[in-house]
């Protein structure tokens, strides 16, 4: 990157299974007020806004029209990214690097509880000619992927179940988490099969919430209050979406995005150079698959390292110390902003009782959930 870019403000709401008492605008406003206070800015300082929005999930068409008011961005340039939170972060970084903007706001939210038939929305992402006519609940995609991943890597369903136990336990120390719990891996394995080998407790439950970040170029730091967390590298990749021709075993999008992000950030040995990772765990096996694609474990060793405690809160490389999506709730495309928030808190030393000791550099890894093969990786650090 030409000039250093950093997160200088973060605002968020609690994550909840339902939020009937607040409109999405009121949620986003609350998050924005906190983020601007954190950064020490007023809306007048904002040069541009990047908002995440997928019309099928918002329940409104051209949902980007609904972006400005609650962000104080009336009469400002706004762009909506129909993509994952880290893709939005990448767009914000590019806007800053054009030189046209010094301060950009990134917003993402979830009102998942308002989607009455979530499987039908997911089904709209499946190929209308070859896949949808079968009429299956879309979760079968995760079942197919989990089977092939376990087959190719040698990891086990029991090891994936331990991801659930770890992350929901971690969420007990995260005050914004929607689904903290003490769950044993046996309970996960005994939960009802959805698309076997995938079971009910393997899946992150949806939640509502909102995040707003203030992102700035180094040249703007002198007029800001917020403690900067630097974006050292970011990349995102889309593999083929075709269910009949994709490689099911490996998260190739993560491997390639990580290679690029590591190169930008100067990370040569991720397991040595990183102090924590917030990794997509929409389904428990995805955490193991992503850990291996990120190079945080040798291929086929993710599950064993997990069992040995390497990725525990107090382990060598804590993964999803926040509780992840399994513990905090799945926020659709805003899920990785929950990961970004955790990275900011950890690198500022503001993570409370789940603070990772000496956290200097960490990563966030996202996936756009089924049926996609799209994901992003961002490396962040403190000075």
């Amino acid at each position: 990157m030409t000039e250093k870019v950093a997160v200088v403000g973060a605002g968020f709401t609690s994550l909840r299974a339902m939020s009937p008492d607040m409109s999405f605008r009121e949620m986003v406003f609350d998050a924005a007020v906190r983020a601007y206070e954190d950064a020490g800015i007023t809306p007048r300082d904002i040069d541009s806004v990047v908002a995440l929005g997928e019309d099928f999930r918002e329940g409104t068409c051209i949902s980007d029209e609904y972006v400005p008011d609650q962000l104080g961005a009336v009469q400002k340039p706004v762009q909506t990214v129909s993509g994952d939170g880290l893709q939005g972060l990448g767009v914000a970084a590019m806007l800053l690097n054009t030189g046209a903007c010094e301060i950009v706001v990134l917003e993402g939210h979830s009102k998942a509880s308002n989607i009455r038939h979530p499987a039908h929305v997911e089904a709209m992402a499946l190929d209308p000619g070859f896949v949808r006519p079968h009429g299956w609940h879309p979760v079968f995609v995760a079942g197919l992927e989990m089977r092939r991943f376990l087959h190719e890597s040698g990891n086990t369903a029991a090891q994936a179940a331990r991801v659930v136990a770890k992350n929901r336990r971690n969420a007990l120390r995260n005050p914004i988490a929607a689904y903290p719990a003490k769950v044993s891996f046996e309970q996960v394995l005994e939960s009802r099969p959805l698309a076997e080998p995938l079971r009910e407790l393997d899946c992150a439950a949806p939640a509502d919430g909102a995040f707003v970040f203030v992102i700035a170029r180094e040249s703007a730091f002198k007029r800001l209050r917020g403690q900067p967390v630097f974006l050292d590298g970011i990349s995102w990749i889309s593999d083929t979406c075709n269910l009949f021709t994709r490689g099911w075993g490996e998260a190739s999008y993560t491997r390639q995005a990580a290679e690029r992000a590591y190169a930008m950030a100067g990370v040569s040995s991720p397991s040595r150079d990183l102090n924590f990772a917030e990794v997509d765990d929409s389904f428990a096996y995805k955490e193991l698959q992503h850990i291996e694609a990120l190079g945080l474990a040798p291929k086929g060793q993710g599950g064993t390292m997990l069992e040995q405690g390497a990725f525990d809160a107090g382990g060598k490389l804590p993964v999803n110390v926040s509780g992840g999506s399994l513990g905090c709730g799945h926020l659709h495309d805003a899920s990785s902003l929950r990961g970004l928030l955790e990275a900011v808190l950890q690198l500022r030393g503001h993570a409370g009782e789940r603070q990772v000791a000496n956290a200097r550099r960490g990563l966030v890894c996202s996936w756009r959930s089924i049926p996609t093969a799209t994901g992003a990786v961002a490396v962040l650090s403190r000075r």
Partner: protein, 172 residues
């Protein structure tokens, strides 16, 4: 012109009869919409036959429909105010098109109505009625700036919806 084009045009019955194969999917795209504090109170007000707005003490604006924050001052605004159910027409259209794009014999007249007591430019979208049944008649009765008043549903039939107001009609 079209008769000069070569080839066979695709007809509705070709698809219906299966001569041309298609794929069909009927999604269940039902969404709830959490109204939150501002819209929730506004809808409750409608049920009680009141138009409620919010006032911002910093810029002094009174906003309808209400929101809990002022989008210009970017601050939590300050108080609820009950507004009159009268106002002035900001803009209107004489619409002859139905939902399915078929023609209407008698037009509908959607309008933006600036509510009395709210700040200039603040209003709600509703229907004008009792204004005639042709463009000519409507234009004779309605102008930009015409004073109008709400005609409400009977209290027992109100359900907390914008349609608790049946329509607006000219005051004079």
């Amino acid at each position: 012109m079209i008769s000069e084009l070569r080839g066979t045009s695709l007809r509705e019955e070709d698809i219906g009869s299966g001569n041309v194969l298609t794929t069909e999917w009927r999604p269940k795209l039902d969404f709830a919409f959490d109204p939150g504090v501002a819209i929730g109170q506004f809808l409750q007000g409608l049920k009680e036959g009141k138009l409620l707005g919010r006032r911002c003490h910093q810029c002094g604006r009174t906003m309808i429909p209400p929101r809990m924050f002022c989008e210009l001052c970017f601050r939590r605004n300050d108080e609820w105010v009950e507004l009159k159910d009268t106002g002035r027409v900001n803009t209107f259209s004489v619409s002859y098109v139905n939902w399915d794009a078929s023609r209407r014999e008698k037009p509908q007249v959607p309008a933006v109505i600036e509510i009395d007591g709210a700040s200039p430019g603040m209003g709600i979208l509703h229907l004008l009625s009792e204004v005639g049944e042709s463009v000519k008649e409507v234009m004779a009765r309605v102008k930009v700036g015409t004073a109008v008043q709400a005609v409400w549903k009977p209290a027992a039939q109100r359900e907390g919806s914008i349609t608790d107001i049946l329509y607006f009609r000219p005051l004079s």
